[in-house]
């Protein structure tokens, strides 16, 4: 036996070199036929005739002892199977599938109806409202567009972020304000007023207050060109109103002016 035969003699059969001197040697086909009961004891190799008889004895018909208690066992198993089975048997499974399809159909119809209703009412978000108007318009339903209630003042509703706002041509843009802010011909208070005016479309009154006390004169220490003075709204952000920074009593902190907030401890009484 060589190393390639493996540690056991029978391994030789798996290398295609059966050891013909070994009476217990079996080829794979004979092994399969023995295990399947296809070989009778008379036809089996001499060394395996009793093995064939033994294997046949394992497959003989059931003995009475192996079938004892059949009635009770079958009754118990049948009841357990019925108890363990899910509530849906074969018929109910079909019904369940049918009902499931019905539910899906109802859900789809309900969803479409809901979306259509919202579209007719104009209650969808802008982009969805536009799509709903287009789709339902093809079937003859009149649905308001996203901008139909804007009374000529349509905003960006229903538009993608990348689209230009051509409907709002009269309004100042960030570019206009930026141009004013970077204009070197004006500085200091005048620049702030000009920027604020551009940003608010002429509604700002910045720079019309007491200019002497509001800002220092433009000297060599003035802010660099292009930098708006303190109190100017951020460039490119059109303010709704011009907030009166540091002059409104409402926005001022209450501590220095409101006596109510002064703690009584700080006002000692002198005899």
């Amino acid at each position: 036996m060589s190393f390639s035969d493996g540690p056991l003699g029978e391994m030789g059969t798996h290398h295609g070199r059966p050891d013909i001197t070994d009476p217990l040697n079996l080829d794979d086909g004979t092994v399969e036929r023995l295990l399947r009961g296809d070989i009778t004891a008379d036809d089996a190799p001499p060394s395996y005739q009793r093995v064939a008889t033994l294997l046949t004895s394992l497959t003989v018909d059931a003995k009475a002892t192996e079938l004892s208690g059949e009635g009770k066992a079958i009754d118990a198993i049948s009841r357990r199977i019925a108890a363990a089975a899910p509530s849906t048997d074969a018929g109910n499974t079909k019904l369940s599938m049918k009902r499931r399809l019905q539910l899906v159909g109802v859900a789809l119809v309900g969803g479409a109806t809901l979306l259509s209703g919202l579209g007719v009412a104009g209650a969808l978000p802008g982009a969805a409202q536009g799509v709903a108007a287009d789709v339902l318009g093809t079937v003859g339903l009149s649905v308001p567009s996203p901008n139909s209630h804007s009374n000529g003042n349509a905003d960006q509703r229903g538009r993608s972020a990348g689209h230009a706002n051509t409907d709002n041509a009269g309004a100042n843009t960030g570019a206009d304000v930026s141009g004013t802010a970077t204009d070197p011909s004006t500085t200091g208070l005048d620049k702030g007023a000009a920027v604020s005016s551009d940003a608010s479309n002429g509604q700002s009154r910045a720079g019309q207050h007491d200019s002497v006390g509001a800002a220092p004169p433009a000297t060599s220490g003035a802010p660099p060109v292009g930098t708006p003075p303190i109190g100017t709204p951020p460039v490119g952000t059109p303010p709704v109103t011009d907030p009166p920074v540091s002059t409104s009593p409402v926005s001022a902190p209450p501590v220095p002016t409101a006596p109510v907030s002064t703690p009584p401890v700080s006002v000692p009484s002198h005899p």
Partner: protein
């Protein structure tokens, strides 16, 4: 039991619904095989293991799909699992060993072989199979008693089909040695 069983698919579908005739058909076919498989692995507890096997089969029967051989493989997979669980539980239980409880392996082998030689019946054959290494005996039982091929047996015992073929070969050879066939031929056993 009032109807003649039809195809396996019809029988299985009826058994899933708890039809007694279908359950009887399956039980008559599988219970003798199950008992023979378990008797070669357990002493006196094989009936308990068989009952537990049927209990688990009833719990999972409605989920099974497949052919008749698949069903047999599924059935004996459950039986194998129950048997392994039983041994694990038994290993955790303390046992008292007495001198009389220690088997004389040599005598058992001789007795089983003699019985098998005299009149090979199922009991003697199962007793002889118990003398094999457990995995070899189990593989031969699953191949012969359960009627499964090497692929299905490999899935049950957790081995590749090629390994199953090697082990079944060794098991048959060991059986031949035990039965003294080689010795009776006058050539002797090679190892």
């Amino acid at each position: 039991m009032n109807r003649a069983p039809g195809s396996f698919g019809e029988t299985l579908a009826a058994a899933r619904c708890g039809e007694e005739w279908a359950v009887a058909t399956l039980w008559r076919d599988l219970n003798p095989r199950l008992l023979r498989f378990l008797r070669a692995r357990h002493d006196h507890s094989y009936e308990d293991v068989a009952s537990e096997t049927w209990l688990r089969v009833t719990q999972g029967l409605h989920r099974f799909t497949g052919s008749e051989e698949d069903f047999r493989a599924w059935f004996f997979t459950i039986a194998h699992g129950v048997s392994v669980d039983w041994y694990r539980r038994a290993a955790r239980r303390p046992v008292t060993v007495t001198d009389s409880a220690i088997p004389d392996d040599r005598a058992a082998v001789d007795d089983a072989a003699d019985d098998a030689l005299d009149a090979i019946d199922t009991d003697a054959a199962l007793a002889l199979l118990r003398q094999l290494p457990p995995v070899q005996g189990e593989i031969i039982l699953l191949r012969v008693v359960a009627g499964l091929d090497a692929e299905h047996v490999g899935r049950i015992v957790g081995k590749r089909p090629g390994t199953v073929r090697v082990l079944q070969h060794r098991g048959l050879r060991r059986l031949a040695e035990l039965l003294g066939s080689a010795h009776s031929q006058g050539t002797g056993v090679t190892r």
